[in-house]
């Protein structure tokens, strides 16, 4: 259960085509993350799979059955929304029971499933409260509980953690990952946060302007980005992209080097620059280097702490093994 195939799917709003013909295969039990900048069509793609938007052409099949024309209710998918979308007039218990009530399950089964979901999500003490009386994290748990009891073929998450504060976000991220390990159900997760994408996904789908730029495991995308866009989007801080004579030396239009693949010296190295801002995180230090003559600013990641001052001269040396080369079209070379 949970195999989803998109075949030449397109979506237009009026005359504007937001999703050009697109093919995608999502395997049973996979945790797939759709990632991309705002407006890249990732949420639209999720809504097409959910059935909340109609496809303009193409086919969507779920577990081998054509679901293109099926209404959302008949696709046996469950969705968790960014705004939680809980029913404000119902208690937590009734919210979780709603999909089972719609499916016509008997009271005893409903009760047992509610208890189990509430226990798994630490909601037992809140079952009789209304959503308005819960915190953001608790509300999101209720939304997940409502999705779990449906026992769907796949879970769809639309930026579920965006409304939570940073600490809670990390916690919920882990909870969702643990849930995936436990249920082994297909999950499709939309986010613009590449850290979420890298940490959670079995498979990442990078989107830009409705086009899939690359599909692959987090480490495939990190080590072998197919083009400049993916190279710049995956990884934090961003990859340094250098054009001009320095790139030409490597038979490329653009070369890329990740901040963690540069070594720093105060005395000697390949590229000379001056220190702009240094961000000390304790475990790491990010140094922003200017006046290298290569690009406006380069970022270097140093493990541990390093004592550098603003406007200090600094030398950078890239690890040549880790250099990425791109051609004039921005595609990966070699």
């Amino acid at each position: 259960m949970g195999q989803i195939t998109l075949n030449q799917v397109t979506k237009s709003f009026g005359d504007v085509q937001v999703i050009p013909p697109l093919d995608l295969e999502i395997n049973e039990g996979e945790f797939v993350v759709f990632v991309g900048p705002s407006g890249c069509g990732k949420s639209t793609l999720l809504r097409l799979i959910a059935g909340l938007e109609d496809t303009s052409s193409g086919h969507i099949s779920i577990d081998g059955n054509d679901a293109t024309q099926l209404p959302p209710a008949k696709r046996s998918l469950a969705m968790v929304f960014q705004s939680y979308a809980l029913y404000p007039h119902m208690s937590v218990r009734k919210n979780i029971a709603f999909p089972m009530r719609m499916a016509g399950l008997d009271e005893a089964t409903q009760k047992a499933k509610i208890e189990a979901a509430a226990k798994a999500l630490n909601l037992t003490d809140y079952l009789d409260r209304k959503p308005g009386q819960l915190s953001g994290g608790q509300r999101q748990r209720v939304a997940i509980g409502r999705a779990i009891v449906r026992e769907p073929a796949a879970f769809l998450f639309d930026e579920p953690l965006s409304n939570l504060d940073a600490a809670l976000r990390v916690g919920m991220r882990l909870e969702i990952m643990e849930l995936h390990k436990k249920l082994e159900t297909t999950m499709i997760y939309v986010t613009h946060d590449q850290v979420e994408a890298m940490t959670m996904a079995d498979k990442i789908v990078v989107l830009q302007a409705g086009v899939i730029e690359q599909v692959g495991s987090p480490l495939e995308l990190y080590h072998a980005p197919r083009n400049k866009f993916v190279a710049g989007f995956i990884g934090s801080p961003k990859m340094n992209l250098i054009e001009g004579p320095e790139a030409a030396k490597h038979d490329a239009t653009t070369i890329g080097i990740r901040p963690e693949h540069l070594t720093v010296s105060k005395t000697e190295g390949l590229w000379k620059g001056t220190v702009g801002v240094a961000e000390h995180l304790g475990s790491d230090t990010f140094i922003h280097v200017h006046e290298t003559g290569l690009t406006d600013m380069m970022t270097v990641r140093i493990t541990g702490d390093i004592q550098v001052k603003h406007r200090d001269t600094i030398y950078l040396t890239p690890d040549m093994e880790q250099l990425h080369r791109f051609d004039a079209q921005g595609l990966r070379l070699g």
Binding site: A73, L77, M79, R150
Partner: protein, 276 residues
């Protein structure tokens, strides 16, 4: 200092508000007072305000002469029926306009409202003929349908405005949870829009209760509601002011009481969204 200015302001505002309130209420108050006068006192010049011989004679005369109960029942049937029928049509209509709008939705809304701009008398002739053809003249059913149609644009407009305040994602969540259209409207949308629906119901009931043009033109005796009951006491000679006032008071009393008890709901509904 600032405090005293505020207090003074408050006093002035309160006085103005009371003055306006009394001004608006005065015709109703005058009608009620007149209903307790004799016919002679009712037309006395200068008019008598509070110091006259209070009598309930007009009420007993009106009760003797006409069948108040039947008029009241007709009013309840017509106002209640047209309101319930209207809301049953308006909820799905407003749902589709608010949540699955098309390019023409705004035009349709304006077109519906434009039907209210036409004077009712403009369509009296065709509707009258239609009523004769269908045998609906002087029937509560016919009147219920006409009043429902007359008020439908307003009900849809009001509900549309309330529904627009409800986040679409909640309805999408219901769809994902396996709810069909009926379940979505019945279990999710309607309970969330209760304040809006209640004030729409109330307003529509009041409008239908007080509607006089159609009720007077399309009824004779059988289906006549309280508006016709009042009209039956207005005579061109103007000799029955007191009885007319008694009849009016009896006609407006039920709706006045209903309005009084539901004013909190009504105000809440009318400001729904504005104070979200």
């Amino acid at each position: 200092m600032a405090r005293s200015v505020t207090t003074k302001r408050k006093a002035i505002n309160t006085t103005i508000a009371w003055a306006i309130g009394l001004l608006i209420f005065f015709p109703i108050l005058w009608t009620i007072l007149t209903s307790f006068k004799s016919e002679a006192q009712a037309i006395a010049d200068p008019p008598l305000f509070l110091f006259f011989d209070w009598t309930t004679e007009n009420y007993s005369t009106v009760m003797e002469r006409s069948n108040y109960g039947r008029f009241l029942w007709n009013s309840i049937f017509i106002a209640g029926g047209s309101t319930i029928l209207g809301i049953m049509i308006a909820i799905p209509a407003a749902w589709s306009m608010a949540f699955v709008p098309s390019r023409r939705t705004k035009d349709i809304l304006l077109w519906m409202l434009s039907t209210k701009m036409l004077p009712a008398v403009g369509v009296l002739y065709p509707i009258y003929l239609l009523f004769i053809k269908l045998g609906l003249l002087d029937s509560v059913v016919g009147l219920t349908i006409v009043l429902m149609l007359i008020n439908l644009p307003i009900i849809i407009w009001m509900l549309y405005t309330y529904f627009r305040e409800i986040p679409g994602e909640i309805l999408e969540a219901a769809r994902m949870d396996g709810a069909g259209l009926k379940a979505e409207i019945l279990y999710v949308l309607t309970p969330m829009a209760i304040p809006g629906i209640a004030s729409t119901l109330l307003l529509n009931f009041i409008l239908a209760w007080n509607e006089a043009f159609w009720t007077l033109n399309l009824t004779a005796a059988k289906a006549a509601p309280l508006t016709a009951f009042i009209a039956s006491y207005s005579s061109p000679e103007g000799l029955f002011y007191a009885k007319l006032s008694a009849a009016s008071t009896m006609a407006i009393a039920p709706i006045l009481i209903l309005g009084w008890f539901s004013q909190k709901q009504l105000v809440r509904g009318l400001t729904f969204g504005a104070v979200k």
